[in-house]
Symmetry: C2
Subunit: 249 residues, 2 copies
């Protein structure tokens, strides 16, 4: 029997346009396409003839285990998720589980465009300089560590990109992060919010750290806070490539 | 006359496979494809019939100005670069210059996969948790600020991804960054080096913070330093999705 293969595929924001050729080919060639229901539903119109296995949220470990088991039967399996499978994605847990299970399969990661890239392109050019990406989800990370990271990002004047800024149960963390950032940055610091980045119902808003209203943000948003140099021009959020240095142009 | 258009296109690591469909279409549809010679040379074999305008390094501002001027004549211009045009890319300066020049053109950013994503997929799954991206280039950023950011990334236990880790004139910064990180992380912390990520002559190595040899690193490398949880298994660098929290699975 040929060795089974498991591709951990990030397909970007959702449409075919922002997918890589490699991701599309791997999905087209797979025997089974597996993933969280929302992701599978994004792919069905693009690849209507595939065999899909969709499972609900919060069953991630079982979904991964099942994908590995399918690959162990010699099948070619594409495990799909939006964004980049390598950034807050499934790649890590797949490697971990495959080892635990002693699975003799080939695993590869097919990276995609992460949400920070998509959201930035909607807002203008906010990520032109050093960047911190922080998830506000405390499901697997102590909230104190998350807020310490926000503090370090503020202290280091990083452009700061927040993933999972809110959920039904975590509504106050975004404001907590805002308060921490306000200790180091002015209330005029530009902030961009993008909901459903790169999807049909995309929505965005450019505001400031002082005016950022958590009511504008939900779990489908990415929030990007500028560094001390970021400005807004013609509605676009722009971070210069550098700081003025004596003797430079 | 129709309004000219300028697309600031990131085409990912270099080959067509890791480009998005949108990037390929925008390049195919453009009247002129313009960029740094190295990037243009990567695209010529993929899109042999295009009109290219290639210029050397260190002429970035002139290149951008010329692209804007071409668009101002009503042409459709694709300004190309590798990785994501929105992360340390040309998007920001294009918006800035177009405003200065009072250019009445349409500008849009077509994001691509950034080098961190490509390098991570080569190494395994190092970017599964909060991430700091820092460029060690001091061309436009004071070195003290760069090193402060490294310190903050160390203090916040961020997975840390170094762009431009070395150049002909900056050979000591990587070791300086390593020393700063060693104050907060053990010498056993995994470090991945990827040269020419996603290109034909790709090379990679997994080592540790204690053993990291700057001689292995040049200007074509990305260096990824794990957080306190990152480990190596079967040659792959893996960062778990979270920290063990009491009461979690």
């Amino acid at each position: 029997m040929a060795k089974g293969r498991l591709h951990v595929v990030g397909f970007g924001p959702g449409g075919k346009d922002d997918m890589t050729f490699r991701a599309a080919r791997v999905i087209e060639d797979a025997d089974i396409v597996t993933g969280y229901t929302t992701y599978v539903n994004l792919l069905k119109p693009i690849f209507p003839d595939k065999v899909y296995k969709a499972t609900g949220m919060m069953k991630e470990v079982e979904r991964c285990r099942s994908a590995i088991e399918d690959a162990m039967t010699g099948k070619d399996v594409a495990m799909v998720s939006s964004g980049d499978s390598g950034i807050y994605g499934m790649a890590g847990i797949i490697y971990q589980l495959a080892e635990e299970m002693g699975a003799d399969i080939e695993i590869d990661t097919v990276p995609g465009m992460t949400a920070a890239s998509t959201a930035a392109s909607v807002l203008g050019a906010p990520l032109m300089h050093d960047l911190a990406i922080i998830s506000l989800s405390d499901l697997m990370t102590p909230i104190d560590l998350i807020m310490k990271r926000v503090e370090m990002a503020a202290e280091g004047d990083f452009v700061t990109c927040l993933y999972n800024p809110k959920s039904k149960t975590r509504t106050e963390y975004l404001d907590q992060a805002r308060q921490i950032l306000l200790k180091k940055r002015t209330p005029e610091t530009p902030v961009g919010i993008v909901r459903n980045a790169g999807r049909e119902d995309q929505w965005s808003k450019v505001t400031t750290l002082g005016d950022l209203d958590p009511a504008d943000v939900d779990m489908f948003c990415i929030v990007i806070i500028g560094n001390s140099q970021t400005y807004v021009s013609d509605g676009r959020m722009i971070t210069p490539r550098g700081y003025r240095i004596e003797g430079s142009e």
